[in-house]
Symmetry: C2
């Protein structure tokens, strides 16, 4: 059994920030669960163009609000506490912050190693051990 506490992750290498997002990596590949688990904060008004070509991602909102635009269809889905979106087809999308910061709980398969960077197209590269 492993215990992780958010207060011990903030301001360490497990907290990663970029323009319009802050991600706390709660579980990484090395933790051996077969998926990684992150908490991501999207500030009100942010806009992120994302395309996880190499990963499947599920995202569950537990606070705040925003929206996701599916670039394959043009559909926009509102996000609020209790909304989950699953990128089961490596979907290109735009994630937009709303009127309050969004708190998102995210699962990635394959698990993120922590050494990925966002490519120019908004994806994470695949990192082998």
């Amino acid at each position: 059994m492993k215990i992780f506490r958010l207060e011990n992750i903030i301001d360490t290498e497990r907290e990663v920030k970029g323009p319009g997002w802050t991600s706390r990596r709660l579980l990484l590949k090395k933790d051996g669960m077969g998926f990684s688990f992150h908490e991501t904060i999207i500030p009100a008004g942010a806009e992120l163009h994302l395309w996880y070509k190499n990963h499947l991602e599920a995202v569950y909102c537990v606070a705040g609000n925003g929206s996701i635009e599916d670039l394959a269809t043009g559909e926009v889905h509102q996000i609020k506490d209790g909304t989950l979106y699953a990128l089961d087809n490596h979907d290109r999308h735009i994630l937009r912050g709303g009127t309050e910061d969004m708190r998102l709980i995210c699962g990635f398969n394959p698990p993120v190693t922590g050494r990925e960077t966002h490519d120019e197209d908004g994806s994470y590269n695949l990192v082998e051990d």
Copy 2:
């Protein structure tokens, strides 16, 4: 891309209840993500004896409080908003509700199919398609 909303899961077959827990299955095996994703509510004062012999489970608390007892070591870890526990060794444990209902976001590997039952020992059986 798939969108699931908690309001559409409550009172359907994706909401499962037992003594001391309510689990909303947001993502199941059939959703094809390689892990399942659940929201589980543990009422204040509940006590659950659990042993997922067939699954790895990560659990992240986003509201409320409680504790987990590791039956291998006897250690008790307090759980509050921002605590994650990872059962990376199929750990036998007791989960206890605290003074406020706990809201837990859970990932399972392999993914739960939705047809599992809790065995007498507190585990889920494995269900093949």
